[in-house]
Amino acid sequence: MSLVDGTGTDTLPKLLQRNAGESPAAPGIREKTRGVWQTLSWSGYRDMMRDFALGLAAQGFKRGDKLSVVGDNRPQLYAAQLSAQALGGMAVPVYQDSIASELVYVLNHAEVSVIVAEDQEQVDKVLSLKDQLPHLRQVIFDDPRGLWAYDDALLTSFEKVIDAGRAFGKLHSDYFATELAKGTADDVAMIAYTSGTTGAPKGAMLSHRNMIAGSEAFLEVNHTKPGDNWLSYLPMAWVGDVAFSLGMALAGNVTINCPESPETVQRDLRELGPHVMLAPPRIWENMLTTMQVKSSDASPLKRRLFGYFRGLAERCELKKTDGVPLTLGERIGLRAGEFFVYGPVRDQLGLRNARWCYTGGAPLGPDSYRFFRSFGINLKQIYGATEASALIACQDDAEANPNTVGRPMPRIDVRIDGNGEVLLKGPNVFIGYFKQDEITRDALVDGWLKTGDAGFFDKQGHLVIIDRAKDVGQLTDGSAFAPQFIENKLKFSPFIREAVAFGHEKPSVMAMVAIDMQTVGAWAEKRGLAYTSFMDLSRKVEVAGLIADEIGKANATLPDVQQVKRYLLLNKDLEADDAEMTRTRKLRRKFVAEKYDAVINAFYNGASQVEVTTEITFEDGRKSSITSNIVIHDLKPAEPARKAA
């Protein structure tokens, strides 16, 4: 029987109540503060949820009210969302790094009445907007540092709300239980705003049923044990974090762990050694880059060992996916490599305990994917969408393959329509967009959700996602142009952090590249090249040469027409603050194409340089702009004889 059919387990707060009843002393949620992991048991977590809910109720929080959380991952913020849900309200998590003007839209659209903010930074941001937020009644902060002198009437502390809740609970002893029991599986649990690679964000309403049924389906095909550790470090507003830190953790009794701060995530990850892990491609790419930098800085012996065993592992991994048996020598080599290289590297990354790791949110390049797998990390792809509670398809341990996203999860039907678009139906499919019925009607047709992704099923029944359906274009000669595929090839280079490929309705492919400051900087230092800023480094002729070689390597693995013919090095990295990327670091292709219109023109009219004026938005919302001349480089076609390694 599914959890959503039981009256005691059909909402997320009820699941927390269940966990607190079944294993009150087991660790429910941890947070690292001042270097120490502080544990809250399931019953402690439940008490926080209950008292905070009562505190909200005392202030008049009603069924259907919306509560927003903004901040880094904190137990208080997770509990606050559950509190709102326990009272029949909805949670609206928002991106903590959004600039103020981005927040206004979401908070107003969702009619948020209570905001739980992590610290002074978030409080300042919210208070600066209060005149534009007519629905806002209360701002509750968790960390009081720096807030002692604030006397805004809207402002109160998390502690005070909890205290008020305890007092309220004494007077109304069964209030919480009654409200909790009123909740049903089909209540809206949260409004998840999509990061919006196109246009303004849309609020997807997810019910408790969506989230719990989705988590159950996931847990059926992925092994977890009660007490497994999960690191909650992804933005709380991302549906991926919602599905795992709330859905999966509560349904599967998995312990949530909140890192101390975004800067310490890597260290906290290693310290914790989580059993299960999810990261977007960006993080895997960063890990890969860091590893490559460290290996090139190591002593010659270590460097050679690393190089040798890495090559061996990658060869063997390719053989394995092709089904070719390994030779005895290779098997012995892998054993030795496990001892000398693979095991220690996994340990350094904090992935030694990890039974499975997922990459999701966007496609990860096959080369990066293979690299992690070859090092013994059980990395698999997961495919999802905000509108499907983050979960649609995932790979089985035995069927990992960089080119597919695996099979649909149980009880989720996926089909491909006549245009090649992926459609799905299942208990995880959302209710609709909040206050946007028209868009909902376009997305949900006869109960089938249109994902907007183009895909097909391969012979084994695995789903293959080609690209965002909207993004796939054509070169003027009629051949298909899938920008993301080319960009991922480029981004496999440790020296390239971001790439944007152009080519739709154009004769050939061109690319804008943002260098990786860390690796290119280290490379420059080794060669005695002095540099100051990102911009300065991007201007160096030597760096252009380096990137030309890297693009050449990628070109060698691409068919002739898909090869990058010209490129330029951007004078700044692509930034979410500048609206070039979403908060989950997906490229906002259309916006970038408009913003860099001058570049695209210069690409195709043969100019050797282009003057670019870029608008910069600082974190506090201030704007300025920089103008500079950027050189456009031509590439020689890759030699067809050279085969990819």
């Binding site: 002074q120 230092e525 002095a530 100051t532 911009m535 201007r539 600082f618 974190e619 920089i626 500079s628």
Partner: protein, 279 residues
């Protein structure tokens, strides 16, 4: 860095002191500076800005050669004074070649009189007449020192001690002076006086100055060109004018709002905006 050539970092012909890509390691293990390159232009003030512990003083010590006595070492890169390489040279040899450092916190010989301090600074010259001339030159720029010539320097005021420290450095008739935080702990009026004198020295004696300052407003007002250092790396460079206009500099070094008004300490935040170092 604006349009066109403004962004190019071509080593200018008029550069007096060129630090090219140096790396400094203390005790053979602690990497303090990485890939630092600075051009000190002839007859001008160049400033090096940065927070505490950014590596500014280490940079000066690496140039003057004092680093050795602190178990530091320039492990990579070159330092050129005019045509001559001075990295790896001893501090007194560097001083003979015409480069001196004025230390932070005005370290005068407190037991000696003002004039004795100056004579000590003239140790590179054998000829008494040259030393005499030097003393007169120093007195002409710092008349206050002349008034106090026979006083024990430990009893001078902070500002006078700073003047003495600069004056003593001038005694070796240097071409390049490295000034480390001359405004530290001094009253604003004195700071203004000292900076005025330094500017005159630059103009009249064709001195080249590398100025390290915490007081960024002041430093950028007198300097022609500036560098910003963080964590042992140069993160930004440009003409003083451009740096003053840079939004990050305004916020993090000048304590100004975008409008240019000064921030109140009451508004101090426990978080910082992310720096972007765009020029």
């Amino acid at each position: 860095m604006g349009t066109g050539a403004g962004g190019e970092r071509s080593p200018s012909v008029s550069s007096m002191l060129t630090i090219n890509n140096i790396e400094v390691v203390y005790d053979k293990v602690i990497l303090v500076l990485k890939g630092v390159s600075i051009d000190v232009r002839a007859g001008a003030i160049t400033t090096l800005l940065g927070a505490n512990g950014a590596g500014k003083t280490t940079t000066l010590k690496a140039i003057s050669g004092v680093l050795r006595s602190e178990r530091g070492e320039v492990t990579k890169g070159t330092i050129q004074l005019g045509e001559k390489r001075i990295d790896g040279m001893r501090a007194h040899d560097v001083a003979r070649l015409g480069l001196v450092q004025v230390f932070e916190g005005r370290r005068v010989f407190e037991q000696l009189t003002c004039e004795e301090n100056l004579i000590a600074g003239g140790h590179v010259h054998r000829d008494g007449a040259v030393v005499r001339q030097g003393i007169d030159m120093v007195y002409s720029y710092f008349p206050r020192l002349k008034e106090r010539r026979h006083q024990q320097s430990g009893y001078l005021s902070g500002g006078e001690q700073q003047m003495l420290a600069i004056g003593r450095a001038l005694m070796s008739r240097p071409q390049v002076v490295l000034l480390d935080e001359p405004s530290l702990g001094l009253a604003p009026m004195l700071v203004e006086e000292i900076f005025g004198i330094v500017q005159r020295l630059v103009q009249q004696e064709k001195l080249s100055v590398l100025l390290v300052e915490q007081n960024a407003t002041l430093a950028l007002a007198v300097a022609e060109h500036g560098y910003v250092m963080e964590n042992g790396r140069i993160v930004l460079e440009g003409s003083a004018q451009k740096l003053i206009e840079n939004s990050d500099i305004k916020e993090f070094y000048l304590g100004l709002n975008e409008g240019g008004s000064r921030k109140s300490y009451r508004d101090t935040k426990h978080y910082k905006r992310r720096k972007r170092w765009l020029s």
